[in-house]
């Protein structure tokens, strides 16, 4: 019988299904490695009994380390294991234990990670989630943390980290995504920001959560001409981790975006009639086309749609790189439509559209999101 099943135990004791092992694994292993590396064992000294006891003592230390290190982040474990192995050898360095302080640090695993690209996207997403700054990782990648609660269940909450790429384009998403995944072990990661949208399908300020990503850049140049070799990807889960059940009206998504808009300082606010601003969320039969081009000619997006896939309705420069970089961690993309891939300048809409995408994501997380790893909740 476990503590969870025993009605006699107070709720505070349910965490004691296992012993009160509250020491974080990293700290526990630091202590164990210290004792291993300073283990004063001279196999030549003392009687067989003494040597036997010393060997037993060290075996106990190693068994303790083996148990505690199982919960370490793989990076940290690999680093620590080297010291554990060194402690066994005759060539153990006397001061090796002083290097333990410089071992890699990994923050607590989080539930949700969010990647943004442009400064407006990062700012709008931080605001939508009420995020705070955290200490910088070594390479100065900015990381902000937030916590949001499940609607109707205040006991369930999600920890969120938000970060940004250093530059736009698919190729520059790999490193920040890898850093976030390694450091925070998120259950799911989202790309949030802006995209160009087909004018037939989207109004400015709408949000697209595409079912597929179409990478249009790969092609082969032949004497007959250019032969396209596009690539596709899509989320692993057909239900999009609960998004197929998302009802934008139930959570009053449009009202939230209008409130967000109203609270903006003047310099961030596009000149529109708020009463006519009715942002929508569109996901069904949507594909986002990704390449290395900023589409501003008013034609190319439609050409991609006509040439390859009628569901192509939006375009950006990061979705495919992002999806590939996630290394099988679940992902989704939330993009606010900030322009129609045409020459019209709509700079102020970047912030609002990114905010709409972030608010849509938050609304979804609070109400309909189904975490891929249910054992964590």
């Amino acid at each position: 019988m476990t503590a969870h099943q025993n009605p006699d135990l107070p709720n505070s004791a349910t965490r004691f299904v296992l012993p009160p092992d509250e020491e974080p694994p990293r700290e526990a292993c630091l202590g164990l490695l210290y004792h291993l590396l300073r283990f004063d064992e001279d196999p030549q000294r003392g009687s067989v009994g003494d040597r036997g006891k010393q060997a037993l003592r060290r075996n106990l230390l190693l068994a303790d380390y083996a148990r505690r290190s199982a919960d370490l982040h793989p990076l940290v474990k690999a680093h620590f294991d080297r010291y554990a192995v060194e402690s066994l050898g005759a060539g153990r360095r006397p001061q090796a234990w002083r290097e333990l302080r410089d071992s890699p640090q990994v923050a607590e695993p989080v539930d949700v990670a969010i990647l943004t690209v442009l400064p407006e996207e990062l700012a709008a997403t931080k605001l939508a989630f009420g995020a705070e700054r955290t200490p910088q990782p070594r390479d100065n990648q900015p990381v902000y943390t937030a916590k949001i609660k499940r609607a109707g269940d205040q006991d369930q909450s999600f920890s969120v980290v938000i970060t940004q790429t250093a530059k736009p384009l698919n190729v520059h998403t790999f490193r920040p995504v890898a850093q976030i995944l390694d450091r925070y072990l998120p259950t799911i990661i989202f790309l949030v920001g802006i995209a160009a949208g087909n004018a037939d399908k989207f109004a400015i300020g709408d949000v697209v959560v595409p079912r597929k990503v179409f990478y249009y850049e790969p092609e082969r140049l032949t004497i007959e001409g250019i032969k396209p070799r596009p690539e596709h990807t899509e989320p692993d889960d057909d239900y999009l981790y609960g998004f197929t059940a998302y009802d934008q009206h139930e959570g009053r998504f449009a009202d939230k975006v209008r409130s967000f808009f109203e609270e903006l300082p003047t310099y961030r606010r596009p000149d529109i009639d708020l009463a006519e601003f009715q942002p929508r969320v569109v996901s069904e039969n949507t594909t986002i086309a990704t390449g290395e081009r900023v589409l501003r000619d008013g034609e190319y997006l439609a050409e991609l749609r006509d040439r390859f896939d009628e569901t192509i309705c939006a375009a950006d420069q990061e979705s495919y790189g992002f999806a590939e970089a996630t290394r099988s961690v679940p992902w989704l993309i939330f993009r606010g439509i900030s322009d129609h891939a045409d020459p019209v300048q709509r700079d102020n809409w970047k912030y609002v559209a990114a905010g709409a995408a972030a608010l849509c994501l938050r609304d979804f997380l609070e109400r309909d999101y189904l975490p891929p790893d249910l054992s964590r909740f």
Binding site: S12, E22, G31, R57, N59, R68
Partner: protein, 559 residues
């Protein structure tokens, strides 16, 4: 002529089960017997066990005391003294209705027996309006010199004045431990917590390996502060007027102890809590007599004195620290002389650059909240590396491991801290203060249980089960011959009350054989008990814990 008999009844309220009568009570009974019976030698029929009322009985059915107190069998014609000894109970637990029952029992017995006298020992005299004074209805009451009933309080007062002033003083001394005893008890209740304590001083930042917790010594501190103020402050301040000022960060027990001392002294009291409301100058009457919890470098002490002097407060020539931790106290002139109740304790202080735990990046431990309940690996392994490893001396017949750490040694060195951790664990599991520990009767675990008793003011009850009982595969035969053993009686009493706060305790667990035996024993029909928690200090087993509600302080799977 045959020496007269003294029949004491040692009564405790709000207790879980019978407890042995402290042997030193005999001195009190002999003293009273000789004085009240006017006979040099008396024969004390010292009881083995206490008479007790549980907390629930004390609250709801105190009349059950009638069933528990049976008159002694004494041949007619022989004078005797019956003593109802309630002296060791906190005054506030002797509720009005219980006092009324005591008075009625005393009155009834006096009527039934022609030659006995009765002495009722109480911590304090009840107010004159109390129903207790029903005893005055006895012929002569308590006012007459011929009265057969005497009430004596812990401070030596008696009514009627049956005890002379000298006898009253001697009686109160018997009730009160000596200053030396108090200091020894205080010292035994100081918990040396092991960790990584981050301290900053004016000179340089440093760490300490130990932190000293004094919260379990509230009673001793209160009494020692009272004695110190009476002897060292009152005679040396103008008009004998002073205010006790206690200083301690989050030391609510220190404040309570000093407040109690102030009440006993009849002086004012003012707490000085850095995290509490601002200090009020008008709270001081006369001079300020400062009492501090723990003084490390003396830096805080200097700042406090300077701040208070700035507000116009005058200090007594002496200040008191419950304990100091650094021998070289850099005190400046002009401060009240600082004395300490305990000898200096070693904190193992070091500069941060020399601190190994800082070197490897371990975070500091907070002194007043350790955060985790289990033992830290760094601390546990420092302890294990110093401990001897021996063959299993106790436990089941077949040893399960070749060598194990000598936990008896570990309990001697760190027992108070481990007991403190157990207290934290019980609190986190919401297992109240009236806990009953059930453990094997073995020397190592007895040492830990002794420490638990010291810290918990002996409020817990311990039931120790002999190893042969636990080792028997068929318990029926063994139990038939053990019904008079103390453990059996204790478990029966607990079972009759359906007692719930039972915690199994052991030094370590390997195969869970002992734990399962104890659990099965508790569940037997004659007891019908269930454990709320099983606490092995170290869990050497690998894999899942087969016994529910197991909470080791440290898990160390034996390879």
């Amino acid at each position: 002529m045959t020496d007269p008999n003294v029949f004491p009844y040692y009564v405790q309220v709000s207790r879980a089960s019978v407890e042995p009568v402290p042997p030193e009570r005999r001195d009190t009974y002999e003293f009273l017997g000789s004085r009240l019976l006017d006979h040099r030698q008396v024969r004390v029929q010292q009881p083995r066990d206490s008479v007790y009322l549980t907390a629930e009985q004390t609250r709801t059915t105190p009349g059950q005391i009638w069933d528990l107190l049976k008159p002694p069998r004494e041949p007619n014609g022989r004078p005797s003294l019956i003593i109802f000894d309630f002296a060791s109970n906190p005054h506030h637990l002797l509720r009005e209705i219980l006092l009324h029952h005591i008075a009625e029992i005393a009155t009834h017995w006096l009527r039934e027996s022609g030659r006995c006298r009765i002495a009722i020992l109480l911590p304090l005299l009840p107010p004159r309006s109390s129903l207790f004074w029903l005893i005055d209805n006895v012929e002569g009451g308590t006012e007459s010199e011929d009265s057969r009933i005497t009430v004596v309080t812990n401070d030596g007062n008696s009514t009627p004045n049956r005890l002379s002033k000298v006898d009253g003083h001697d009686y109160s001394s018997l009730q009160r431990p000596s200053t030396r005893d108090l200091k020894e008890r205080l010292k035994s209740r100081v918990v040396r917590k092991v960790g990584h304590y981050d301290f900053s001083s004016r000179a340089e930042p440093h760490c300490a390996r130990f932190f000293f917790e004094i919260e379990a010594a509230e009673q001793e501190i209160g009494e020692l502060v009272r004695i110190w103020a009476e002897d060292q402050i009152r005679p040396h301040v103008p008009g004998g007027e002073f205010t006790l000022v206690s200083q301690g960060r989050e030391s609510s027990r220190l404040h309570t102890a000093v407040a109690g001392a102030a009440a006993a002294l009849g002086c004012k009291f003012s707490p000085l809590d850095p995290d509490g409301p601002p200090f009020r100058v008008d709270a001081i009457k006369g001079v300020a007599a400062l009492v501090l919890d723990v003084v490390h470098t003396g830096g805080t002490y200097e700042v406090i004195v300077a701040d208070m002097r700035e507000q116009g407060i005058t200090f007594a020539p002496e200040a008191l620290a419950v304990m100091t931790t650094d021998r070289e106290l850099p005190l400046t002139d002009g401060l009240p002389k600082l004395t300490s109740l305990c000898d200096s304790f070693e904190r193992r202080k070091m500069h941060k650059d020399d601190c190994d735990q800082c070197q490897i990046g371990l975070p500091p431990t907070k002194p007043t909240e350790d955060g985790q309940i289990g033992l830290r690996t760094f601390d546990m392994w420092e302890i294990l590396n110093k401990a001897s490893f021996k063959r299993e001396e106790f436990g089941p017949k077949r040893p399960r491991l070749p060598f194990i750490p000598d936990l008896g040694e570990i309990f001697d060195d760190h027992g108070a801290w481990i007991a403190y951790k157990i207290g934290d664990l019980l609190e986190s599991l919401r297992i109240g203060p009236d806990v009953v520990f059930v453990c094997p009767r073995e020397p190592h675990i007895e040492r830990l249980v002794t420490q638990l008793g010291v810290l918990r003011q002996n409020r817990q009850l311990t039931v120790q089960i002999p190893r042969p009982v636990l080792d028997k595969t068929k318990l029926d035969q063994t139990l038939l011959t053990t019904v008079d053993d103390e453990w059996h009686r204790q478990l029966r009493h607990l079972g009759q009350r359906n007692y719930g706060n039972i915690v199994m305790l052991d030094e370590f667990v390997i195969s869970y054989g002992t734990a399962k035996s104890i659990a099965r024993l508790l569940q037997r029909r004659e007891f019908g008990l269930e454990h709320r928690a099983y606490i092995p200090i170290v869990d050497f087993s690998a894999g899942d814990m087969p016994l529910p509600r197991t909470f080791p302080l440290y898990r160390l799977p034996h390879p």
